[in-house]
Structures are given as structure tokens and as C-alpha cells.
């Protein structure tokens, strides 16, 4: 005899208990501390902060631990926490020209004021598994030198002096906030950049890669990539002036894109821009390429029908929290819809069989 499935509540509680046990793993192995994750898995922490839109390495480390290393799950935890926080206001625009750079490279000039600084990069490592890491041991200290004190100017400024690169007029208009207003199209560039900055690294990478392979190719050079810390300043109304409220690590990428000119713009270089929390250069470069592809209209280029040019397509699908939620929801019960489809398919089959039988009888 059929008994309606009951006990959902107990099943959920038991599943949670089992999950907690699995998260901890073998208890004879020492438990991970948040500071270990923060210090030793810092690129994972950076990605969670960037796509979670919350700069807090400790909370990101906690989220990674709780999510068993599933970064999208960790990003989700951060987002759900972030949305409960009150919004006091907006900081002043950070001055990345005054960044204390750990890394700063240009692919367009062999040398420039501020120099080429490789910094802590994987770029020229040979991807050979380092079995020494399997054994614990101290790392010898890296050579050090006194840091530069003077600011490092942006490479694009040098091109701008000659008028060779399209200028970006400053705007006093406060950008809309993607987290407080529904996303509506057409979106302006500030909103597009916000969306890409918190967009899924893999998705943005794939979109950028598609432009390199000819789907709205935009001939990007990395004019500059810089990683370092900048101070965040905020105007305090009660004080009447801005004060420093903290420091964040950022990755900034400016691409210089070849441009033959269009109906409305003279031949000049154009720009793509990427700015991401933490050290996230793959994401920053990808973001810059996609930003440039999305600017076709403003620059009077042709719409080639490429996915990366399609603002609605890119922005509606780059958020991994939305995407994963909707994708995974199909595992929830759908008996009712499925039942109605069952009835329909049976009905259509019955009618089709009747038609065939009718035809055969007639022959």
C-alpha cells in the first residue's frame, strides 16, 4: 500500500549532519584554520571576494571552509551575507595611479616610468609538480628591495598625451548600483563593468576567449596590468572631508585595442577595462576584453552578431550564483509538471495511433 512520503524534515536534518561530517573529513587529520586558508589559498580567497562583491579575506576564508572548497558555493555564502549588510554610502573613486604595485607589466612598451615589475606571478614557472611541497618545510625568504615611493603613472596616459587613444571623459554622475536596483537594458558602461566584476571567472574568460578566436575580434594588447594595494577614502558628511577607511588589493587591466576608426570616431586606439578585487589577473584581462567587445555601439562599430557583443546575453548569464541556482533547481520535485506532460504525451500518442489505424483501414 502506498504511503505518502513523509519525514522531509528529518531527512533534511540528517543530510545536514552528514554534510558537516564530510566537510570535516578524517578527524585524525588536523583541521584547517581560517588563517591557513586566508594565507595559503589566497587566490581562492580573492576569487570569492571578487565574485562575492565583498572585500573581507577572513569571511571569504570562512566561506571556503564551510563550502568544502566549492568556490561558487563560497561566493554564494558571501553574497547572502553581504545582502544583509546596511549600505552607508559610496567611497571616492580609488586612485589606481597611486597604487603600491606588487606587479606591473606592460605588453605595449618595453619600458616606461615605473618599470616592468613581474611580482609574484606564475607566468614563467615551469608547470612541474613540486614534490618538495608534499613535505612540509620552510620557504627561503625571497630577495627584497626598497619599494618605489613615487606613484606609477598609467601607460595609457602616455598614449593619451599624443591623442592616440580615445579619451574617457570624467563623469560626476553616481553610477547605478547593481545590488540595489534591478538590472535593466540597455545598461550603461558603469553597470556593465559592475556586472562583469562580479561575474563568473570561467564565463567571462570564455567570452573573452571567443573574441580572440574571431567572434568580434578586437585586437587587444595588454597596455598595462597592475596589482597592488590602494587606499579607500570616504567622504564623511559630519566631517565635511574624506578620510581613509582602509586599503584593498586590486588587479587592474587596461587593454589598448587597435581601431581603424568608424563612421563616428577617427582612427585611434580604444580601451577595454578590467578591475577586480585581489590578485585575479585572468579575470581582469578577460573583463577588459569583454568590456571592449560590448562597446561596439558607442564606438560606431558593426554588430557582428557575436555573443561577446551582446550585452543582454553576457550580463544575463555571467552571474554564477543565478546560473547555478537555476541550473540546479531542476533536481527539485517537478512531479506536477511532469504529470501534465505525461497526460499530454499519452493523449497525443493515442490520437496519432488512431490516425494511423484509420489510414491503414482506409487503404
Amino acid at each position: 500500500m502506498y504511503v505518502a512520503v513523509k519525514g522531509g524534515e528529518r531527512a533534511i536534518e540528517n543530510a545536514h549532519a552528514w554534510l558537516a561530517e564530510e566537510r570535516r573529513g578524517d578527524t585524525s587529520v588536523a583541521e584547517l584554520s581560517l588563517s591557513q586558508i586566508r594565507e595559503q589559498l589566497s587566490l581562492a580567497v580573492n576569487r570569492v571576494m571578487a565574485e562575492g562583491s565583498l572585500y573581507d579575506p577572513d569571511l571569504a576564508a570562512l566561506a571556503i571552509k564551510q563550502a568544502r572548497g566549492d568556490l561558487i558555493e563560497a561566493i554564494f555564502l558571501i553574497r547572502a551575507y553581504r545582502t544583509t549588510l546596511p549600505r552607508f554610502g559610496a567611497s571616492r573613486a580609488v586612485d589606481t595611479g597611486a597604487m603600491a604595485c606588487d606587479r606591473r607589466i606592460s605588453a605595449t612598451f618595453k619600458d616606461a616610468p615605473g618599470g616592468q615589475v613581474l611580482g609574484p606571478t606564475f607566468d614563467y614557472t615551469h608547470r612541474l609538480l613540486d614534490f618538495k611541497l608534499a613535505a612540509e618545510g620552510a620557504v627561503p625568504p625571497a630577495p627584497s628591495a626598497p619599494p618605489r615611493r613615487e606613484p606609477t603613472p598609467h601607460i595609457t596616459e602616455f598614449l593619451g598625451q599624443e591623442g592616440l587613444i580615445q579619451s574617457e571623459p570624467e563623469s560626476e554622475v553616481a553610477p547605478r548600483d547593481l545590488t540595489r536596483e534591478p538590472l535593466e537594458f540597455p545598461a550603461d558602461r558603469a553597470l556593465r563593468l559592475q556586472s562583469l566584476a562580479r561575474g563568473d571567472e570561467g564565463f567571462v574568460l570564455g567570452m573573452a576567449y571567443s573574441t580572440q578566436r574571431g567572434y568580434a575580434r578586437n585586437h587587444a594588447f595588454v597596455g598595462e596590468l597592475r596589482i597592488g594595494r590602494v587606499t579607500v577614502e570616504m567622504e564623511i558628511p559630519e566631517l565635511g572631508f574624506a578620510i581613509e577607511i582602509g586599503e584593498v588589493e586590486l588587479t587592474e587591466c587596461e587593454t589598448v585595442n587597435q581601431f581603424k576608426g568608424s563612421k563616428i570616431e577617427p582612427p585611434q586606439f580604444t580601451r577595454g577595462y578590467g578591475l577586480v578585487f585581489g590578485q585575479s589577473e585572468r579575470k581582469a584581462i578577460s573583463m577588459a576584453l569583454v568590456d571592449r567587445a560590448l562597446r561596439w555601439q558607442e564606438l560606431g562599430e558593426d554588430n557582428l552578431g557575436a555573443p561577446a557583443q551582446d550585452e543582454e546575453f553576457v550580463l544575463s548569464h555571467c552571474d554564477n550564483i543565478q546560473a547555478t541556482g537555476f541550473l540546479e533547481h531542476i533536481k527539485l520535485p517537478h512531479y506536477v509538471d511532469f504529470q501534465s506532460e505525461l497526460e499530454l504525451v499519452r493523449k497525443l500518442r493515442r490520437e496519432a495511433e488512431e490516425r494511423i489505424a484509420h489510414r491503414e483501414a482506409a487503404e
Binding site: A4, P186, F326, H329, L332, S340
Partner: protein, 276 residues
């Protein structure tokens, strides 16, 4: 629980959602954009419905949550627990005792009253979405009442299959103006949408809220010679004997023996109790 505000969302957010709900009620069937929040459950799990319920609930309310018509499916249990914890409201499984009912994929069998609010969870609020993927286009189509594409789709169904091959999320026209997605309820439930209760629809991921005020005309799209038909399995419930309720089909054994039972568990239980 003191860590979060009543019903989880802060009052500013609730106010923003209530404004969207009121606008939705004022323009029946129109999809109102709203700044949906990330909720502590994933998109696709009913975040739109949960936000609408959170903005609707008062401490005096009594909440019922159903998924597929049942109170005891895992996600219904999870959402009910969420509000028990964050709002401390009373909950019930009895349709007539509830003041707010959050639902996924069903309308309860028992007739709802003017004292009730039915909150639907909506995955894709745009009825034209699978005919035209662009939001910029579909919004234009709604503003111009350009619904020819939908009728062509239904016509093509008939010419290919001899019947309209939409079995759930069957499009309706509300108050003779907007074509609306009733959420993925079976088309069996469509005629119930002309009801005394307020119907609110929340789509979290898609950032849309829409509404049907009480006693509003809701017409399922059809043709004169192919009228709309609310269908269900041609059986009676094997537990309570009801012939008028929507049925789930359950596979009983390896031989594929089937059994049909009410999808609305409260309706089925109350009928069996009344008979006992």
C-alpha cells in the same frame, strides 16, 4: 531570533518589495522589475516567492507552504522552517486556516477566500521568453500588446499535433490586457485563478514581481474551435476517491503498477478524515 529582522529582510527592502507588489496589483499581469536580494537559499528554490512572503507576512499571519501541492516535500519543509525561524509566525498545513500560502507549481483544491494571499514561486516570469529570448524585445511586445507570436505558437501546435501541446505554465490573459505566465502550474489549475484571494508572483533571479487582484478576469489563451481544456489523469484518487482533484502518478512496483493520488495532500487528508 534576534540576529535578523522579522521575516529576515530588512524593512527598507520589504518596503521596496511592497511598492513593487502594489504596482503589480494596480497593473494586473504586468511584470514589475524589483531589486531582488540574494537570499540564504539558492535562486531557483523559490527566492522570489520567499521575498514576496517576507514582505507580506505580519506577526499575526498563519503560513502554509506547499510544493507540488504537498506540505511535506523537502523544499516546502525547508521554506516553512525558514519562516518559523526568522519570523516566528504560526504555520499550518490546512488550507482554510492559512492567511498566506506560498506555493510552487499548484493551486490548492479548496476554494480560497478574500482573507487569503497566495504567493507563487516563479522560475521564468516572461510568457514570451521561449518565443523571444530578449527581454528588451519582450517588454516592447507587452507594451504594444503584440501577442500574435503566442497565438501563432498555439496554432502551430494544433496544426502539428492536433492539440495545444502546453500542459503546464499555460499562458493566460489578465484583465484583458497582459499575457501572463501563471508559473508552472498544470493547466488544470488555470480556471481557479479567477478567485477571491490576492495572487502574488515572485521571480527572484529574474527580478520580477506581478500580481492578480481578487476577482480579476483570467483567461487561458485558446481558439474558438480549439477551446482551452483543463485536463488531469482520467482516474479518481486511490486514497480518498476524489474525482475532481489533480493527481500524482506513483509507480508501485517493478512491474510498473501505477497508483493515482491527490497532489494536494491537505485536500486528500481532509477528505479521508471526513469519511472516517
Amino acid at each position: 531570533m534576534s540576529d535578523y529582522n522579522f521575516a529576515y529582510l530588512d524593512e527598507q527592502t520589504k518596503r521596496m518589495i511592497r511598492r513593487a507588489i502594489l504596482k503589480g496589483l494596480a497593473v494586473p499581469g504586468y511584470q514589475v522589475p524589483f531589486a531582488s536580494r540574494e537570499m540564504p537559499m539558492p535562486y531557483g528554490w523559490g527566492t522570489g516567492g520567499v521575498q514576496v512572503s517576507a514582505a507580506t507576512l505580519t506577526p499575526e499571519d498563519r503560513l502554509k507552504v506547499i510544493d507540488q501541492g504537498a506540505d511535506d516535500t523537502t523544499n516546502a519543509v525547508s521554506i516553512r522552517k525558514f519562516f518559523e525561524r526568522t519570523a516566528g509566525v504560526a504555520t499550518t498545513e490546512m488550507t482554510q486556516d492559512a492567511t498566506v500560502i506560498q506555493t510552487r507549481h499548484r493551486i490548492p483544491e479548496a476554494e480560497l477566500t478574500e482573507d487569503q494571499i497566495l504567493v507563487y514561486q516563479v522560475p521564468i516570469p516572461e510568457p514570451l521568453r521561449f518565443l523571444e529570448p530578449r527581454e528588451t524585445e519582450t517588454r516592447k511586445m507587452h507594451s504594444l500588446q503584440e501577442y500574435g507570436l503566442m497565438h501563432v505558437k498555439l496554432y502551430e501546435d494544433i496544426s502539428q499535433h492536433g492539440a495545444i501541446s502546453t500542459a503546464y505554465a499555460y499562458p493566460v490573459r489578465v484583465a484583458e490586457r497582459y499575457v501572463m505566465d501563471p508559473s508552472p502550474i498544470p493547466k488544470f489549475d488555470n480556471p481557479k485563478m479567477e478567485m477571491a484571494a490576492i495572487q502574488l508572483f515572485g521571480a527572484g533571479r529574474e527580478q520580477r514581481i506581478y500580481a492578480v487582484p481578487p476577482y480579476t478576469r483570467v483567461v487561458s489563451l485558446d481558439f474558438e474551435d480549439y477551446p482551452f481544456e483543463a485536463t488531469k489523469a482520467d482516474h479518481a484518487c486511490d486514497l480518498c476517491g476524489a474525482e475532481d482533484s489533480y493527481l500524482d502518478e506513483v509507480i508501485m512496483d517493478d512491474a510498473g503498477t501505477r497508483m493515482f493520488v491527490c497532489s494536494d495532500t491537505d485536500y486528500c487528508r481532509s477528505r479521508r478524515e471526513a469519511a472516517a
